[in-house]
Assembly symmetry: D2
Homo-oligomer: 235 residues x 4
Amino acid sequence: MGNMIDGTQAEYVRIPFADTSLYHISDAINDEAWVMLSDILPTGFECGVLNGQVKPGDTIAIVGAGPIGLAVLLTAQFYSPAEIIMIDVDDNRLEVAKKFGATKVLNSSDGKAVENVMKMTNKKGVDAAIEAVGIPATFDICQGIVGAGGHIANIGVHGKSVNLHLETLWSQNITLTTRLVDTVSTPMLLKVVQSGKLQPQQLVTHRFKLDQIMKAYDTFGNAAKERALKVVLTA
Amino acid sequence: MGNMIDGTQAEYVRIPFADTSLYHISDAINDEAWVMLSDILPTGFECGVLNGQVKPGDTIAIVGAGPIGLAVLLTAQFYSPAEIIMIDVDDNRLEVAKKFGATKVLNSSDGKAVENVMKMTNKKGVDAAIEAVGIPATFDICQGIVGAGGHIANIGVHGKSVNLHLETLWSQNITLTTRLVDTVSTPMLLKVVQSGKLQPQQLVTHRFKLDQIMKAYDTFGNAAKERALKVVLTA
Amino acid sequence: MGNMIDGTQAEYVRIPFADTSLYHISDAINDEAWVMLSDILPTGFECGVLNGQVKPGDTIAIVGAGPIGLAVLLTAQFYSPAEIIMIDVDDNRLEVAKKFGATKVLNSSDGKAVENVMKMTNKKGVDAAIEAVGIPATFDICQGIVGAGGHIANIGVHGKSVNLHLETLWSQNITLTTRLVDTVSTPMLLKVVQSGKLQPQQLVTHRFKLDQIMKAYDTFGNAAKERALKVVLTA
Amino acid sequence: MGNMIDGTQAEYVRIPFADTSLYHISDAINDEAWVMLSDILPTGFECGVLNGQVKPGDTIAIVGAGPIGLAVLLTAQFYSPAEIIMIDVDDNRLEVAKKFGATKVLNSSDGKAVENVMKMTNKKGVDAAIEAVGIPATFDICQGIVGAGGHIANIGVHGKSVNLHLETLWSQNITLTTRLVDTVSTPMLLKVVQSGKLQPQQLVTHRFKLDQIMKAYDTFGNAAKERALKVVLTA
């Protein structure tokens, strides 16, 4: 739904097997936190953090500091990695990443991201490189920085194929994963939000009434200029 | 060594295969932090946290707030459990536990620990009950509070057998583990200490010169009265 | 159902959420094979084999050669253990176990099962001891024969508590599990039966028409004398 | 060694840390079986079977029926997959594969391997596609036949990069692994060989005295024509 089935921007919508996918939520928590749990948090957590097998003490890199990359950043911290390097071409987003817990940020617009990450990690590379953009250039950064035994966790929706450097990676014990979120982690995320240890409402930067929906779309369409992360519509 | 082989309180000691168990440590970190990594941190982490399979959002209970229980408390937080209930009979130790990150503390000297934990957890019990004492009474608390699908991770050195309530546990999908620390987690712990996310020197409460060693033993022998956790000897 | 809810020996029965627990089966396979998949096979496989973490090359012991123990025996072979020691007090059942793939059988009626298994394993004990009876004596055999780092997988429905020897097991890296079958493995078992690699109809020893049901009960009630494993009723 | 360090075809060789990599073997087993355990068996098992996470009931495909592919075939059977499809361009090798346990064989020289495997699997693809050649064409087969949620386990030594179809795989929950054998599985393989359940000497097709070594090289160099799998040199 929203991927293979047409989306749900309608007055009424029929959800198949809806009964089996409902969760009880608490009034004590900000509604906007729960909205973030519908899609962006489980996407970042499952496809990025769980598939990247982030562990205590790890050095990880997240390529892409948009809402998905920031969802990875927030949920990766559940596992106490030692270093989280955030990589993007937009300094504003990197600024947000610092506030959200990145230990290092790196603007990759100079084309030297791989070189810089290898310096930061004493040539060892990272334990997990998490792709949160979906283009060949960002995937290339991931394969360039992943260390021996490391993980490349792809989240990005790719429109074309990429060049996989098996001529170097074949002997490096790399695990590369792809995944479409399946929300298996929703019960866990609910408990973490409930405990106050995760406050995903931080991702909401703009709010609009339903009758301003076209303006909301414009804002999200110009996310960089508007410094928009997630946009919430209210009745 | 110290368990099956006589200990090492001697001027010289021969360590078999010592070359294979050395780690490089950094000068930038407090020496006392590294001392805690030799035994107590990996014991709490491996036998308690790893074996208890502590996960983000979990509700866990640690029975025993001595140095081992506190090592569990410090390292369990790597995995962001929602609730950490610390159980002991000594209010001073529970006070320390609060400072170290316990979300709830419970003095079990009234014999109502099981009843109280079940109340705190809406009758669900805990995801992991970690035994850090080593007597039948504390093991009983663990079996009384573990929820369906939960883990009992035994760390305590037991001198006698315990009564295992298979007549209720047989259908509850419980996993009960025992373990003697093997320090497989030392590389991970080194990285977490190095990153500053874990400061195990908090466990050191008393320091003595080597020629005051008998006083050091007395202090540790009267740990409750002296409010002693770990005692460090220096040259 | 059958455990907490009254059973289904009735003309009509209402199964809550039945739609979510139906599987498509093939006509090419013997119906009796599928009947075994409703309960006994997943019970032996999930509670015994999966929880016992049976691996290629392992030495395992199954305590109890009734239908559940034999279901463990059949499904443990999916993972190619090197040795499967079957333990029971009934020589007929041990004879069946040999035909079903046990590499060694042991009649425990002399009270020397632990001693004998330790001899067979050069004092190392077994990698997995699987309890398929449900009484203190058989649980005791399991704790006596489990090797360092091994698993005790309890399947038996216990009516009373057992004595757990933590005074020796505390340092042995043991994992003890309990479980009530949840049939999560049904899709896997269907595929293995479909492939012909598992023929669970071997467990069926007696067949009765529905109007002979009282005789069927008598037969199952005198299983040892009748050499009965599973009894099937047909229309 | 043999990869980054020069090989060992010499009268004397210095093995660093040799003491830590010795295993006790039994005289009761054919020496040639143990020779196969030095490299080819663990390579096929670790990089192919373990990384491909082969499970009971799985449908798997092995691309390449040379000695490595056949080592995968032998060791995959430890986990009782339902179907093992062997793919190669050489009918002789496929014939050997049938004898070694392949349930289906497929000559890919017509360029229709993907199409044929999808037919064989009712368009579902395979649970694990194991690459045992090391060229773009065989890697392409693997990405074409892997089913949703499946694994691509690369073993082949690749000389150039490959085209990875993220535009279709991004949403398919694929896990792609690379690995250079580390022999962590040697203790397990020793036990399985010891038990007689694995007879790797089947891989040896030719034997030469040490002074016929040039002829041995010629034979291995013309493996297809000579129908050679592994060649053993004796004193």
